[in-house]
Point group: C2
DNA sequence: GTTCCGCATGAATCGATAG
DNA sequence: ACTATCGATTCATGCGGAA
């Protein structure tokens, strides 16, 4: 059975009311940042941002399963020599509205936007704010394990040369004790810092983030046949990756051209237009 | 002339009143985090943290030069499944008290604290919040330039082979114009993500951060004979590095054992005890 | 077929200029 | 004075044409 892709044209706040309550396992989205995307989205002012976003956050809370997770990709820009504070205020307001602020991941962008200024360096990281409805949520940590760093590999290689032949009964020495946990193991759990390139200009699809980014969180917070939602679909990276990974996907997009573009790219997956 | 090191025993808020106004070029410090260091510092509650810190922030504002910078190393930990919000509230309150929140650097710790939990990964980053009194402050960007990526080195090497001999009068072609900026260049400006190991275990001095961390900011925000202040000196990494780099250093520490330890380590630099 | 090189282009930011 | 627009700055990446 093919996984479903549903595409909703229109405003996020309105379209979200059409989704059933407690039906989504993961929300991964990157809303338009304050004062950005003037041409396509009209640009939300930094002072109105929290007020603009919270009704949407409330609807997202409604459609998310109690075991589900909401990952919000955002980064405040510099304004008159200072960083804007609206993201901080947004986090505080989200908690007032019942969301748990579980974690803040860092996306470390390898290739940040160039430029030089007298008072700051290039901005090469973005926030990935994890919110939950409940303290108990689904997390499949083994799905995102990474190969161990060379430091560990080489250390273990040398370690095994000398220690493999040790009498296993010599446990409790504080060192040999842990060897069994490390031998034959070349994978480690990742951290809350994700290091990826931006990959902006692939096939004339302007994407805010590389496919690896939603892929990582989809692997971490959903299993096959779960449902992934992106209420600010844009060029559709999240929806496309979710579909490719055997998840059901729901996308909302207000710009008709973007929605049509996604519909064409995903044609073989039977998208359902409402 | 040797640079001076002044060590003040006692509480940060009280001792700061003994420093002259507008006398410090850089404040670099890592205060006790909320609910941490119970045994040595008494442990400040996360709910009282902002209230506890702001009087100190006011004194720091008083002693910092208008062209100076305040770098605050801090990271909220998880409590009952959520990240604490006191750091966010602190940033907002600092702005209310007249500080400019210029930038947030990320310290990406290569070898973060080990551990495994069902609902989160290891925390491998900390905030380095940059605050200023004025929009115009001293910043010596050339001091912290880093080698360019290999890709660029090889490509620029080839570039210079062909373009060095170009007629310099061919300006305005959009490309040749900038060649002079790039020829013989193998260094680039860094970003706002700092990637360092933790190095906690040097010479039985428990340090919150590696020497490279204050070193980077001291290079960036001060020149020789400037004054660096750490109001929560701890094992004295900031003060020691500043002294070694030819800066005057001021350290405040409430725990006598730590202060004495620093005094011994820095003996050859004529510390002045008050 | 590879490898190499030219080039466009990004959730950027500041300072100057114009209305 | 306060806001909108524009040019200059800069670096990693992928693409396409050339060697």
């Amino acid at each position: 059975m093919k996984n479903k892709v549903k595409l909703f044209p229109g405003d996020a706040k309105e379209q979200l009311t059409k989704l059933p309550s407690n039906s989504v396992d993961l929300i991964f989205t990157s809303p338009p940042y304050a004062e950005r995307r003037m041409t396509t989205y009209g640009g939300v002012s930094q002072h109105e941002y929290v007020e603009w976003f919270m009704p949407i956050a409330d609807e997202l809370h409604e459609v998310l399963k109690p075991t589900g997770t909401f990952v919000l990709n955002i980064k405040e820009s510099a304004f008159n020599g200072e960083r804007s504070t609206y993201v901080l205020e947004l986090i505080l307001k989200m908690r007032e509205h019942g969301w748990l602020w579980t974690e803040e991941f860092i996306w470390h962008k390898k290739n940040s936007y160039p430029g030089k200024w007298p008072n700051r360096f290039r901005d090469s990281w973005e926030r990935l704010l994890q919110f939950n409805k409940e303290r108990q949520f689904n997390m499949y940590q083994e799905e995102v394990m990474v190969p161990m760093g060379d430091w560990a590999k080489s250390r273990l290689k040398n370690l095994s040369q000398t220690d493999k032949v040790r009498d296993p009964s010599r446990v409790g020495s504080g060192f040999g004790k842990n060897i069994s946990n490390w031998i034959n193991r070349d994978m480690a759990y990742p951290t809350n810092v994700i290091h990826l390139a931006t990959e902006c200009n692939n096939k004339n699809h302007p994407a805010a983030f590389p496919e690896e980014l939603p892929e990582w969180f989809i692997k971490l917070f959903t299993k096959e046949n779960d449902t992934v939602l992106d209420p600010f679909m844009g060029s559709g990276t999240t929806v496309l990756v979710a579909n490719r990974m055997g998840r059901n996907a729901v996308g909302i997009e207000i710009v008709p051209e973007y929605l049509e573009m996604v519909r064409e790219r995903i044609e073989n997956a039977e998208p359902v237009l409402f």
